[in-house]
Amino acid sequence: MKTLILAIDGLMPELFFGGEAHENVGGLLGRSAYGLLEDVIPLDLDIAWQIFESGSDAGSLGLYGRRDRSNRGLVISEWQASSQPAAALGVLSSRQSFQTAVIDAAQLDLPAVLADHERLGTEIEAALQAGTSQFYLLRDHQLAAFQMAHPEAFAGEQGAEELAALYLSWDRLLGRLAAALAAEDQLLLVSTHSLQARTGAFRLNQWLLSQGYLQLKSAPDSLARVDQLDIDWQATKAFALGGREGRIYLNLAGREMQGLVAKTEAAALRAEIAAQLQHVTDASGAPIPIQVLMPEDAFQGLEGVVPDLLLVVDGYATAVDESVDPRDDSLLQELNEELVMGQGGSFLLHAANSILEGEIPAARLEDLLPTLLHLRGEEVPVQMSGRSLLDGLTESGRDRSFDEEAAQRRLRGLGYL
């Protein structure tokens, strides 16, 4: 029994799954389970891969952002993928890996990419034929790189034809590889993220400073990152790290080096900050839409140094900046619009022996590996926080509240009501 995983970064679900010309996708959709993935938090390609490979969410892995606080310090090192629990679990250790060639995205050489797909098709077909491994894994960052370098292609401008050709080539490759699988095999196509425009950054530490939660002994001379600030730990109640999400840490006694906030006060302080974040406005007085997530709601497990609050600003269109600027106290910084990794991951799971079919709502990235194991008839390790999508399938059905809301919305404005 073989499992083939095609992991394509930055796949735009409507373009690929909705593409009229994509015959192979079209054919597979009718015989597969598929859907959009729930938001992957934190929004980070490498951590997403850890989540996928470990079948566990980021909280269970203790990975709350690109920069690691496991030493409880503020001088932050980037974590090392190889030392992470996902690798230790080793479910996918017996695998044969393939990768698309690295391309110069700015100068897209379409014939080279198509030839690369051709090469991969041949190599993977041969590997599947040989059948020496259980898992076969193809990872691609080519498509994402091209799309990020050519945002105008989405508007039908320069690069549009190449973009369409790239997607079409993926459709062909998918069809070719699906045909190479036997009836008992599984095919999973997964994209942990799609792309999204990012237009600004919210200065979270600047805000904590303005509210008095963060106190400095002396102001920096110039723009400074959080670990470069001269923080007055005797008076600071909270500080933050940036990224695509914001992470607020209370200066908690017993956890932080110079903790100030007693454990008994933490819950109230956290609620207070969360409430205040709902009323943040920009310089003109317009509200800044901030979604505050409680880590205990966002994650199944809570390992390591857990942030006390997570922030998503304007549905990820605005990033969170942790720096403080002594000359500019504005909270919202406009950035040049840029296409970056966004939420909106998607998947397609094809397995002849699966009863799972059609659109699967609310699938999470960490559910995919347990689902594959389930389909392979293997035990799902207890360490995995994800759940097989086949669990409780008999009970499944459409979510009534969703239909209800849709019906209510459609009827809105019928004067008779």
Binding site: P13, L15, L29, S284, G358, R410, L414
Partner: protein, 610 residues
């Protein structure tokens, strides 16, 4: 030439003709005739105009009410359209639920051109020779029939039903930053927005609205409806949708209040086609300027909730009358031979909202205390219709052009709301799981379908909880007749405790009034109210409040969903016709024959030509 005026009441037409206030109606009557025209079971706009278009009873075209239900889930939903989606990644396709062939498709098959402007339930339609502009059924950008937005700098406000509420914060220099509420983002449970800023000029009672839309700068004058603002809403994945909106600056000092119409599809780039050929709405815009594209245009919800007042509502209605006339004129100018149909639905909406002003003791007047404020508006509606007819007659003085004036139903008062589901509950047909506070909430919350035998959805329809048809059906086919007889007997004995008189005129069975391919979708029973009663909004949505009857104190004070016999529509033609017993059903065969064509087999009516 068919002029549709929604909801004209024959008694009012007759009275105003007698006193010489409808000279053109009178002239038409004298040339051809005037008759009440039997409407459909039930007397509702989408049902009636569908019968007009298709020439069958609702059993043939499948539109039985504004609201239908999903038999599997019992959920009420809009009856006109449904969305079909191949999979989660492709955009949904809108499908018209009306079945059958409208008579203009038959004309088209004979190379006769038509211009069909705003016929209900035509969204979407097949291509015909000529032009279609869709009407009732076309949603706004939020997928609703119309969700307006109320902006206010006052504190402590709550959103009313069917509106968005946006608080305003006045910034330095009297500048306000806000946004137009765009489509829903179901994934994020939030809304897409288009930002604007508003610079107040309190001294001049005006404001300047700046946005990235078209025009960049839009002047808002206190108490005046603005021109259209065309906007782009950015969606994720680099897509955008276009919409347009009108504003009304309601207050400026000290409190700032602003009203925005629902975001209409932009005829240049609608989310779904709003006409056929798809370019037609664009061409029309080039000729007459931007126009409302949603299916239900008038801001009656804003008036009903007190966000706008009667004068502001009427001012908006005037915009609608005018643009509809311009559409009609455009087609009259370019179509030399063929069929023109244009529906004016403002007549219906104004009567709904102003009926009470001609009825001193209407319950709504007791609440609002202004019952004598607008005595002429109802009659003005009819005079406005007469004016429109006059302009058409002047251009077509000869008898070569057949002119038909038609309303789909009449009108009457709406004083008491009847909670049909509450009656079904009290009588033991609708059973709740446990005694909890949420019992009786809309969408049949907490109903025990394993014990319920009947339920009501829409404005008079009762469905039995039938085994094999409903999701959790329990009533066997051989039990149905007895159960229906029992419900009929119960309802026949029902009296309004306030008057000690019957509130219902009769209850009819589907098998006695409906036939055709869609019969399986029909309700089992239809409740026909007495004059002054209407099945309540709560019942329509599957709710069951505590009381069976309640006073209607809403500004929405007139209605027509009573026994259809009480509210026939109006038919006038400039050629002699058999007026006796004329029905909406008869119009399709009559019009086909006027073009020298035979009615199709599916059509149930008879030609009205002598």
């Amino acid at each position: 030439m068919i002029l549709g005026f929604d909801g004209l009441e024959p008694d009012i037409v007759a009275r105003l003709m007698e006193s010489g206030q409808l000279p053109h109606f009178e002239a038409l009557k004298n040339r051809g005739g005037f008759a009440p025209v039997a409407t459909t079971f039930p007397a509702q706009t989408p049902v009636a105009w569908s019968t007009f278009a298709i020439g069958t009873n609702p059993g043939g075209h499948g539109i039985f009410d504004f609201i239908a239900r999903d038999a599997k889930t019992y959920l009420p939903d809009l009856s006109f359209t449904r969305y079909e989606q191949k999979n989660a990644f492709v955009p949904p396709k809108v499908v018209n639920r009306r079945q059958g062939r409208p008579f203009w498709e038959i004309l088209s098959a004979h190379q006769i051109k038509s211009a069909i402007l705003r016929c209900p339930c035509s969204y979407p339609s097949e291509r015909i020779a000529g032009n279609l502009l869709y009407g009732m059924g076309v949603p706004d950008l939020r997928g609703s029939l119309g969700t307006a937005t109320f902006y206010s700098s006052a504190e402590g406000l709550e959103a009313e039903e069917s509106e968005n509420l946006v608080p305003l914060v006045v910034g330095p220099d009297d500048v306000i930053r806000s946004h137009v509420v765009g489509p829903r983002n179901p994934k994020k449970n939030s809304d897409f927005r288009a930002d604007f800023s508003l610079k107040l000029d309190r001294a001049q009672s005006q404001a300047l609205l700046q946005s990235s839309g078209e025009p960049r700068e839009l002047e808002l004058k206190l108490g005046e409806w603005s021109d259209w603002l065309k906007l782009k809403f950015k969606l994720p994945m680099l897509q955008s949708v276009r919409g347009m909106v009108r504003f009304l600056l309601l207050k400026i000092d000290p409190v700032v209040e602003l009203f925005a119409s629902p975001v209409n599809f932009d005829p240049q780039a609608p989310v779904f086609p709003i006409g056929n050929p798809p370019e037609y709405p664009k061409e029309l815009e080039a000729k007459i300027g931007s126009y409302y594209t949603t299916g239900m245009v008038e801001e009656n919800d804003g008036l009903n909730h007190g966000r706008i007042d009667e004068a502001e509502f009427l001012a908006q209605c005037e915009l609608v009358w005018t643009e509809r006339e311009q559409m009609l004129q455009h087609e009259l100018d370019q179509l030399k031979e063929g069929l023109v149909y244009c529906l004016f639905d403002t007549s219906d909406r104004v009567q709904h909202m102003f009926w009470r002003f001609n009825e001193t003791d209407h319950p709504a007047n007791l609440k609002h205390g202004d019952g004598d404020a607008w005595p002429e508006v109802m009659d003005d509606v009819y005079r406005r219709c007469d004016q429109i007819l006059g302009r058409v007659m002047v251009q077509h003085p000869d008898d070569d052009t057949l002119i038909i004036v038609l309303s789909d139903h009449g009108f009457t008062t709406f004083r008491r709301a009847f909670n049909l589901n509450s009656w079904l509950r009290d009588a033991g047909y609708l059973v709740y799981k446990t005694e909890t506070e949420s019992n009786g909430a809309d969408f049949f919350a907490n109903v025990d379908w394993t014990k319920s035998r009947a339920y009501a959805v829409g404005f008079g329809a009762i469905y039995l909880n039938r085994l094999g048809r409903e999701g959790k059906g329990i009533v066997r086919d051989d039990e149905a007749a007895a159960l229906m007889a029992e419900i009929e007997a119960g309802l026949a004995a029902l009296k309004d405790p306030q008057t000690e008189k019957a509130a219902l005129r009769r209850v009819v069975r589907a098998e006695d009034i409906y036939s055709g391919a869609c019969l399986a979708d029909a309700p089992d029973l239809l409740v026909c109210c007495e004059d002054g009663y209407r099945v309540s909004a709560r019942t329509a949505l599957g709710g069951a409040p505590a009381l069976i009857f309640e006073d209607n104190v809403e500004k929405w004070s007139g209605d027509h969903i009573v026994d259809p016999e009480l509210v026939p529509g109006v038919l006038l033609m400039n050629q002699k016709f058999k007026a006796e017993g004329a029905r909406l059903l008869d119009l399709a065969p009559t019009i086909l024959e006027a073009f020298g064509l035979q009615p199709t087999k599916a059509m149930e009516g008879r030609s009205l030509w002598p």
